[in-house]
């Protein structure tokens, strides 16, 4: 656009539309090409106004499109979600699966041991909780995550055999991994320190590995055999560090959870914001809250520590028995020897939130460890843990 054209055009635009042509003819002083050029631009104004041309940002367009696409995805779910609970009863058959026993339940789903009567093998069947099974968005998410999980092939991830639907009930058929979960193992009695440290040490080795990343938003697993889990930590090198930590933290999980996507190990800010969002999605998940607390504490700002304390206390109110995640995170942390102040703050918060007498009565090794830790200076404790490590592993 020539400067002269621009100037005339802008000045003409400030005039009333019916005055423009006459003014322009005078202003162009016989330069017909100039007049035509300016006039052809001015002529667009009315159309542009009528069409609201470029008035809405394109990002709106993009978001509308995403919304459409999201709605289509959601619409793929079953038209109505019925009550799946009635069917998942030991002894009942759903399609060709004979339900044998409940394996566990988490915030979003329940898992049953079943027998595939066609292939004659045990399988784990996961369905959403009754409440979530009514929720189309959860169903859509369930489908999506099942597909994502099915696309993965990793020894630490349970294989997906099928996503099935019986009537209105949607369920996932997964590899059944026989054995004890870590939590079962913990509950059965105090785990020897050497064993525990070996386990965590492997988790840390995996999580510190530079290659420990696969960036695909890996979904994690369910009923894990204790021995196998330990071995898995070593194999987890192509997993994201956070997956590895989930692995450690949620070794009791018989349900899978979406892991954080592609986070740098030290990128706590982003991790925290994702974690907050996940919490909004699944507020009933205290382990997320606990992990959030740990990350906040690890960042160590005063405001973060306050939020960390609040988060821990909330997690404790929600699920006092589910301290595993929090404590194991603190434990991992201790091994790395970082952020002592944050650790002691976290521990202090836990102490504040728990009834000390109740904690002392609890047979779980984690809590006793916690009490022990909280009563001595951090550095000394970390050194001790390290020396255990060196001696035992």
């Amino acid at each position: 656009m020539k400067p002269q054209v621009e100037e005339l055009c802008l000045r003409a635009l400030d005039l009333e539309p019916d005055e423009r042509e006459a003014w322009l003819a005078t202003a162009c002083a016989g330069d017909e090409a100039l007049r035509r050029e300016v006039s052809s631009l001015l002529a667009q104004e009315e159309r542009a106004e009528q069409l609201h041309f470029l008035e809405q940002p394109a990002s709106k367009l993009m978001a509308d499109w995403l919304r459409d696409s999201e709605e289509r995805t959601l619409a793929e779910g079953p038209a109505e979600a019925a009550s799946p609970s009635a069917a998942f009863v030991p002894g009942e058959r759903i399609l060709h699966y004979l339900i044998l026993e409940p394996l566990g339940a988490g915030g979003s789903g329940r898992v049953f041991l079943a027998r595939d009567e066609k292939l004659l093998r045990p399988v784990a069947i996961k369905c959403l909780t009754d409440e979530l099974a009514q929720d189309k968005q959860w169903l859509a998410r369930f489908r999506r995550e099942a597909r994502a999980l099915a696309s993965l092939n990793h020894p630490s991830i349970a294989t997906i055999h099928a996503l099935e639907q019986s009537g209105d009930t949607l369920f996932l058929v997964m590899e059944y991994v026989e054995g004890q979960t870590l939590l079962d193992r913990f509950r059965a009695g105090r785990l020897p320190v050497s064993e525990t440290l070996a386990l965590y040490n492997r988790a840390i080795a995996a999580s510190h590995s530079e290659e420990a990343y696969n960036g695909r938003g890996v979904l994690y697993f369910y009923r894990h055999d204790y021995e196998r889990a330990a071995a898995d930590f070593q194999r987890a090198r192509d997993l994201h560090p956070n997956d590895a930590l989930f692995h450690a933290n949620l070794a009791n999980a018989r349900y899978w959870i979406p892991a954080l996507r592609g986070l740098a190990r030290t990128d706590y800010g982003r991790a925290i914001s994702l974690r907050r969002e996940e919490l909004r999605d699944t507020p009933q998940e205290p382990s997320l809250r606990a992990q959030l607390a740990v990350w906040l504490a690890r960042r160590g700002d005063a405001a973060d520590l306050k939020e960390a304390r609040d988060a821990i206390e909330l997690a404790l109110v929600q699920a006092p028995a589910d301290l595993t995640c929090l404590v194991s995170s603190v434990f991992v942390w201790q091994l790395t020897g970082d952020h002592e102040r944050a650790v002691s703050q976290a521990i202090e918060a836990v102490r504040k939130g728990c009834n000390p007498d109740e904690l002392r009565r609890d047979p779980g090794w984690k809590r006793s460890l916690l009490i022990r830790n909280s009563s001595r200076p951090f550095r000394q404790n970390a050194d001790e843990v390290r020396s255990w490590n060196r001696g035992r592993i």
Partner: protein, 196 residues
């Protein structure tokens, strides 16, 4: 398993800046995935009375993908200019995908019930607009940039005026003129059309 993840965004941005065209494609696909994820998240929140704030959505996707500290942005607008390129590419991809799906016809910028049409298909054709924008850039790069920031990213006049050497008055002028110029291109009355 190939490592193309969010972690790579920063590296890809640098590669792209150094002239690697393939890096842009990868960036686009990453941002696109993130947008989908966020859109899903927002859809869930929306049911609890929240609005899908679109500019926020797009910018948020971006902010979450880029390690701001590691990329040397000349200024805030530089960051948005890069965003604009990527968003524009995503829109082009979406438009092409839609076209090939023949689901909703070509992607348009105005509602279908709009009485007046430009392309004859119910609204402004995004692919055609994109091409017109490229022609504008060839003629006047600053104007095309203002359009990108205002239209593609959705920045306000004042925000756009953070471009060094471009004051708010210039932004307003550029915007008014570019809008008419692009409209003329799309109506088939542009100099380019006449010549071609």
């Amino acid at each position: 398993m190939k490592n193309t993840g969010v972690k790579d965004v920063t590296r890809l941005l640098l590669a792209w800046r150094n002239g690697n065209r393939a890096a842009l494609d990868k960036l686009v696909s990453l941002v696109y995935d993130e947008l989908h994820r966020l859109a899903h998240h927002y859809m869930r929140r929306e049911n609890r009375g929240h609005e899908l704030q679109t500019t926020e959505l797009v910018n948020k996707a971006w902010l979450r993908l880029v390690d701001m500290k590691q990329v040397e942005w000349q200024d805030r607008v530089h960051f948005f200019a890069v965003s604009a390129r990527i968003m524009r590419q995503i829109l082009v991809d979406i438009a092409r995908e839609r076209e090939s799906e023949k689901r909703g016809g070509r992607i348009t910028l105005v509602p279908l019930d709009e009485a007046l049409t430009v392309s004859g298909e119910g609204g402004t054709d995004f692919l055609a607009l994109n091409e017109a924008l490229e022609r504008l850039a060839a003629e006047d790069e600053r104007k095309a940039r203002v359009v990108e920031l205002r239209f593609i990213v959705g920045l306000s006049v004042d925000e756009t005026a953070e471009v060094p050497g471009v004051g708010a008055d210039t932004v307003i002028r550029d915007w008014r003129l570019s809008r008419l110029w692009l409209m003329r291109e799309l109506s088939g009355g542009g100099a380019h059309e006449a010549a071609g």
